[in-house]
């Protein structure tokens, strides 16, 4: 008979009756024995809505699937449209698309780094990562008019061009990010508490990743070397030099390192694009006017992994069928294997390690496996995680050369 232990009592706010839960953890004592995942709170029926819109309206709709990687869906979507039409876009448009995609990866990974720091109890990491993220958002605003939801992609090319002087500013901002990123890398590689919190925790094996079709940094951290930018080259990715980053253990630590190193690769790609955009000036729009009947597939390596859009056209200006699959759809099920068997204080960071949307990790409830009684909420789990870090810091304080927080 399993003994349950109430670690932190649920407050007067009972999320069970109120908010739809995303993750339901079942525990025996401190160990997570089962994870239930419930989707749907966010379901807006976008695929059906897309059938009522024209091909040039759809990018605005799909941009709002996710706010963090907002250009990744239009990116895949306009490529699917171009795939139906069998059309090539101008080279300048390819470089601009690549630049936007990579700049977005930088901001998204910095965002994730901050949240990971927050979940682990390193609020300074959160504040610093997001502080360094601000110039990236300013750059987006300078180049596209908005900090997020940039509205840059259109079937046939991009909606706005970049001025040469703005490119110079871009290079300045990118250069200024290298040192802070290396600082985060060095912290990850040297801080004993961070390593104690992330090494050998939430391990996802290579086999698990292949079976479940995991994508992006989640898969690459487990040694699966998939990346749409190399496997199905598109835009200007076959014209720039970069490496894909992989690791071998598939634990949280590897996921941190993969994302931090990817920021450095993205900076490399962006700078190469800026260089090319000074001389490649063949236009930004293929002026697509008709989408013939047919079908097409568009894929893009978003910060979280492969985004895939499929379009079926009947020759009218609206899609017959618009299929969207975000990378988290494949990555979220891997949580069942990564979270089960570990302690509940590691649950928050493990669930966050696949980089789902922030709200998903808020909506977590922990149940006692034997009695089914609710024990704690997502916010309690967060407090548990912070407590574990505090305890570890005390344990390692004599070994730490510098106090990070």
């Amino acid at each position: 008979m399993a003994r349950s232990k109430t670690i932190i009592p649920i407050g007067p706010y009972h999320p069970l009756q109120e908010e739809p839960e995303f993750f339901k953890l079942h525990v025996e004592g401190e160990r997570v024995v089962e994870l239930e995942i419930e989707l749907g709170y966010n379901h807006r029926g976008i695929e059906k809505l897309a059938e009522d819109l024209s091909y040039d309206q759809v990018p605005f709709l799909v941009e709002r699937i996710c706010g963090i990687c907002s250009s990744s869906h239009p990116f895949a979507g306009v490529m699917a449209t171009e795939d139906v039409a069998g059309v090539e876009i101008p080279e300048r448009a390819k470089y601009i698309r690549t630049f936007i995609g990579e700049l977005e990866r930088i901001h998204s990974h910095l965002l994730w780094l901050g949240l990971a720091g927050h979940f682990l109890g390193y609020n300074t990491v959160w504040m610093w990562a997001w502080k360094y993220r601000e110039p990236v958002l300013d750059l987006f605003e300078l180049l596209t008019g908005n900090r997020n939801h940039y509205g840059m992609m259109k079937p046939g090319g991009v909606r706005r061009d970049f001025a040469d002087e703005d490119l110079a500013q871009a290079v300045k901002v990118l250069d200024s990010l290298v040192k802070p990123t290396m600082m985060f890398r060095d912290v990850a590689l040297s801080d004993p508490v961070l390593q104690a919190r992330t090494k050998h925790i939430g391990v996802l094996s290579k086999q698990d990743c292949i079976e479940l079709g995991a994508l992006g940094p989640t898969a690459r951290a487990s040694g699966v070397p998939i990346d749409v930018r190399k496997d199905h080259p598109y835009a200007a990715y076959d014209r720039v030099d970069f490496d894909i980053v992989t690791a071998t253990n598939g634990d949280i630590f590897d996921k941190v390192v993969v994302r931090v190193l990817e920021i450095l690769e993205s900076i490399k790609i962006c700078k190469q694009c800026c260089q090319k955009l000074l001389t490649v000036k063949d236009g930004i729009d293929a002026n697509l006017t008709d989408i013939p009947p047919g079908e097409g597939v568009g894929t893009h390596e978003a910060p979280r992994g492969e985004v895939i859009h499929y379009i079926r056209s009947d020759g009218t200006n609206r899609p017959v069928r618009y299929k969207i699959r975000a990378p988290s759809f494949m990555n979220v099920p891997t949580n069942k294997r990564a979270v089960v068997g570990y302690t509940v204080s590691d649950a928050t960071i493990t669930l966050a390690a696949i980089d789902p949307c922030y709200c998903c990790t808020e909506r977590t409830v922990v149940f006692d496996a034997a009695t089914g009684k609710a024990l704690m909420t997502g916010k309690d789990l967060l407090a548990l995680s912070h407590e574990k870090t505090r305890n570890l810091r005390e344990k390692y304080s004599s070994r730490m050369d510098k106090i990070w927080i």
Partner: protein, 154 residues
């Protein structure tokens, strides 16, 4: 490489391969017999080493179609397996036991299009609320909002 892959399909599955459309070097659409689809999907995943990317269900006038999108990453290619199912009662064997990555999307296609996936391990709602009316499949072309399902914005 391209011909070898299609050749492999034909040799292995013969008349179950109904039609091959090579839209471009990177996009191949292969129409297959629905009864053999699970074997062909398993062949893609286990023997060809494809990655299951997603599946798309579409409600058309002639039938309900499913496209299984398999990525042959090392060949920079997508192999899209197409099956056309009965319009009134679309039904096919689930591939979730052989291709675990397909488990969730089959649940989604069931609740949004009404496709039956035989022997699927867990056919609960994935995206729609548990109290969503039975038999109401929003992605069908003739789906109409009614009763409490109507936003009143028509």
């Amino acid at each position: 490489m391209a011909d070898e892959v299609i050749q492999g399909f034909r040799e292995r599955f013969g008349s179950a391969i109904l039609e091959v459309h090579e839209k471009s070097p990177r996009r191949t659409f292969i129409a297959v017999d629905p009864k053999r689809l699970p074997d062909i999907a398993e062949y893609c995943y286990k023997e060809l080493g494809c990655r299951f990317s997603i599946a798309t269900g579409t409600h058309l006038t002639g039938g309900v179609e499913i496209l299984y999108h398999f990525a042959l990453d090392r060949a920079h290619r997508f192999l899209n397996l197409r099956v056309v199912l009965d319009l009134e009662k679309p039904s096919i064997e689930s591939i979730a036991a052989r291709v675990p990555a397909a488990e969730w999307v089959e649940r989604e296609m069931h609740e949004l299009l009404g496709i039956e996936f035989k022997h699927h391990p867990d056919m609960r709602h994935l995206l729609l609320a548990d109290d969503w009316p039975d038999g109401s499949y929003p992605l069908r072309r003739d789906w109409k909002a009614g009763g409490d399902g109507d936003n009143g914005k028509k």
